[in-house]
Symmetry: C2
Subunit: 159 residues, 2 copies
DNA sequence: TGTAGAAATCTGTTGTAGCAACTATCCGCA
DNA sequence: TGCGGATAGTTGCTACAACAGATTTCTACA
């Protein structure tokens, strides 16, 4: 029987617990603003993209959501007036999801608390040197496991 | 309007992308062994707990799943024979979920590949010094956001 | 021009998780 | 002993996300 106490399991467990715990904290702030986690991620990615919009398929690539998943998310957000679909002039199959003014307003409403959450439960817990080393390690891992995270833009969280 | 390029957003985005990318890698190995991510987490936590079992509510606390969620997960695993419910002799409200031999066999089958995944996409990417600093930072964050992650045992991923 | 194959999106089905309500049991107190 | 509040676990309801298939549109080639 294999040992269930391998150090690699511990490392993976730490990462999972830290991230899921952190997510639980930020989730509260999102929920009180009427946004799900994925709603927020979608809106912030649109807001940070050139023209404040992305093609549906690029959005799917960035979020690791399936294409049908993106369709439903954009459906919900469009129903709330936070994004609008725009047709693409050069490819009539494609469509853009663009964040509306109501969408950026919603982000403005959530961001102060969200940034405070991150500060309280993540970045503020580490010394500047610790934090920069931590982010550098994250960047190494991210680049290895998600080579396509910047589909459609160079303005995602590459830093 | 608030800037959407705050460094804290970038840090949080990096963490989210690295973890979700890593999860996507390990997910494949689990799926081929007929386990969902949460199935694996449940089994490994049981295997690492004293007596190879945990109370349902402790399992819920450790996994950040709701109690009803734990009920259904254990339902599924019990249907497959990987865990069994055991009544508690001192509290007839409570029940334990205990991993069976079939359950540990299933873990044995998945672990080699899972450990290789972690090595390939996480721990093996960093130098020993980088890794230990990284884990130390994770521990700081985990302890802050999940004070209850060791409910029912001291043998979770505290290292 | 016309047809075949590829690409992107949307729709039906299935499975999972959370919340709230419910039952059963335990503990404190008179 | 017996009552009231608290706790442990399960179940009904609702919503979300993935997968596969259908539809529309684009590109390549004759």
């Amino acid at each position: 029987m294999i040992s269930f106490d391998d150090s690699r399991l511990t490392a993976m467990g730490l990462l999972a617990e830290a991230f899921s715990g952190l997510s639980a904290k930020t989730h509260l702030s999102f929920a009180e603003a009427g946004l799900s986690d994925i709603d927020f991620e979608t809106l912030i990615r649109l807001a940070r993209s050139p023209g404040r919009r992305l093609r549906m398929s690029d959005l799917a690539a960035q979020t690791n959501l399936s294409t049908s998943g993106v369709t439903r998310v954009v459906d919900r957000l469009e129903r709330e007036g936070l994004v609008v679909r725009q047709s693409c002039s050069t490819d009539r199959r494609a469509s853009y999801a663009a964040i509306t003014e109501a969408g950026t307003d919603r982000l403005d409403a959530v961001l102060p608390r969200h940034l405070a959450d991150i500060e309280t439960w993540f970045t503020g817990l580490l010394s500047p040197e610790q934090l920069s080393a931590f982010l550098e390690a994250l960047r190494v891992i991210r680049d290895a496991v998600r080579p396509c995270a910047t589909a459609g833009a160079e303005l995602t969280s590459t830093g």
